[in-house]
Every structure is written in structure tokens, then in C-alpha cells.
Symmetry: C2
Amino acid sequence: MESKDVEPNLYDRNCGSRQVLDRIGDRWSVLVVLTLADGVKRYSELAQRIDGVSQKMLTQTLRGLERDGLVSRTVHATVPPRVDYALTDLGRTLLPLLSSLQAWATGHLAEVEAARTQYDTRP
Amino acid sequence: MESKDVEPNLYDRNCGSRQVLDRIGDRWSVLVVLTLADGVKRYSELAQRIDGVSQKMLTQTLRGLERDGLVSRTVHATVPPRVDYALTDLGRTLLPLLSSLQAWATGHLAEVEAARTQYDTRP
């Protein structure tokens, strides 16, 4: 082969891995994937579970996750049509990672909040 | 105690853990913390390593990480003053997590890109 294989490099702005990082770091994507860890959910169930997400953001997040192959969308031919969302096999590989993120965020919350108070009140 | 202790809940928009998630999910924060994994760095070294970050974003990211107690900032009384950044002990607890994020993003890049192509070219 003439062209050399290049390792993905997160530090390079042109590397696709940086876009992937943006997806898996995005707050709404994280919350959607964690909610789907339980199993298939309808749009309305996701909207209810994830406090504060707008309809626009939820729709956009689901579309992004579907495009990235992390979530599947199934339309059932009922009246009105029922739309289900589920994790794909690829999406499922994210779960251990996102559970660790969740555990870190909840487990270190007190330390982060203490640091903020100290920063904000320093002379 | 009258007030009951409440478990941090990522799904609740008012819970601080959601803000913490935003920090540890943020692309520039992730790249700064990973760069500091090697050891102390100056501002200019961070700017050089992290391709595509603007001065404004890097300054803002470092300030946020410092405020959250993840990064320490040391000013040396030289002329011109030298400013060093390093991970704190709390910041260091993020490293296994962010290394996993990095590994996922680089390791699954081909699958995500294939899914995108399929999504974008479907009838």
C-alpha cells in the first residue's frame, strides 16, 4: 500500500475520533443512552425521564445517535404510529463507559462543589 | 437532621451532577486533562498540543477546570511570569475514565463512520 495507515488522533482537529468524542461526551446523548440501558423506550418515555430536555434537543440527539449507529429507531404501523428507540450492539458497548461517567459525576459532586465555592470566594 | 439526604440524580436538571457531567464530557476539558496526564504543562504547550483550540476556549476551559478543582495553576515570579498547569489529585481520578473515552472514540471510529455513510445515503 502506498498510503500509510494513520492511528486515530484525538488531538488532531481533522480526525473523526474527535467528532466521536463530542457525541459520547454530549450531555443529552449520555442521558439518552443511559435511559435506553433498561430496554426499548418510546419518545414520550425518554422525554419524561430526562428532565429539562426540549423536544427539539431530544429529536436532534436521537437523530445524531441513530446516524452514528448507536440507537435504532423502529416505526410501528399503528394509528397513531408508535416509534420505539433502542440501543444497537454498538451503542451497548458504550454502557460500561457511561456508567463510569455517571458514577464519577455523582460520586465526586461534593468535592467539585467544594472546589467551586473555594474558587468563587477566594480573595 | 430534618432534611433528608438525596442521592445525586443525573436525570434531574437541578442536580449538580449534571453540571459535573457537562464538564467531564466537554471536548476541550477532556483534551486538556489527557494532555496533563504526562505532567505539568505551560499554557503554550497545551495550545500547541491541542489542535484547533482557540486562545479564548483554552483560557475558558482551564478556568473551568481550575474552578472545579481538577487542575491547579501556578504562577512563577519570572519575567515574563511563567504559568504552569497540572492535574490535582481529584483531576487525576478522571484519567482512567477519560482514557476509556479516548479508546472508545478511536477504537470505534470506523464503525461510527460506516453507520453515518449508511444513514446519509439511505433512500
